[in-house]
Symmetry: C2
Amino acid sequence: MNMLPAVEVSQTPEEKFREYLASRPKPQRFTNQQRDMVQYIFSKHNHFDADELIDEMKRENFQVSRPTVYRTLKKLVDAGLLRKINLGKRTVYEHDYGYAQHDHLYCDQCGSMIEFQESRLDELIRDVCQDQQFQLGGHSFIIRGTCADCNRARMTKRRLDLV
Amino acid sequence: MNMLPAVEVSQTPEEKFREYLASRPKPQRFTNQQRDMVQYIFSKHNHFDADELIDEMKRENFQVSRPTVYRTLKKLVDAGLLRKINLGKRTVYEHDYGYAQHDHLYCDQCGSMIEFQESRLDELIRDVCQDQQFQLGGHSFIIRGTCADCNRARMTKRRLDLV
DNA sequence: ATTCTTGCAAAGCCTTTGCAACTGC
DNA sequence: GCAGTTGCAAAGGCTTTGCAAGAAT
């Protein structure tokens, strides 16, 4: 995955999450499983779905249960630590906190997600909202197709097929 | 819904669908239920999900079964008559054939979808794909937020609450 | 102590599928 | 008549929930 610039943050993800929990109308508790999840998720920068997270964490002997993972992921999204991306077939999560605003190219062949930044997009979104008197909440933007690697693989295969 | 320019098409949706069916590796059949669905769907221009379509068609005494609706919707998407839009909570379909390329603003409050066209978006997409040597397949772009109507309603409510 | 979180099993929701009866071509 | 379509019931995949036991504050 090509890396985008990190963003300066003054709190660790865990601190930010605790702050979020504490600031709820009904203060919520910070549990061991939640701590493990936050630490695990922010120890690597990648896109993952609920199942992958559960499998990987179990493989590393963390104690995680499916319902709790779903419940915690929802809180992490609310807290602004994660962003949820709906891919149609799959729903994946990625870091939101401490990471630059960006969008994705999604490869239909290999499933990889390539991140990109485009300042023109923000401008465009602002203009459209202005036009329609629409109060912007957010956006989802995914460009689908075939990534460079898969394209190369295809080309090669096609060449071989012709022989 | 604000209307975008229609596009010139030489075939009716039904004709186009029959052509698609006939051109399959294993030619497929055009049935009464499929005809009803195509006619019903293209008799109005709106966004709908599978359930809404079934309910409405049943209400008008068309005979439709859930599995067949799903099977036919898939074919209509393949045939290029419909476009499938994943809204996270809901999956909706809209006319693709005979209708200008566009994207959507989605109101979180009332669920309405406002269509818009932005030529700058195509340019941007082309540039990003160029950069990444990515072969474009398509894109999904949804701007979320609160539409003008809902915003007005909220304003009014807020004013009333203050009295 | 109180109140929130957990984990199991079960339910929900939307979508797909196996299969026998049916129907377009 | 053959091959594809239909509709029922059932299964699937992912996500959520009721509730009793357990943990955080």
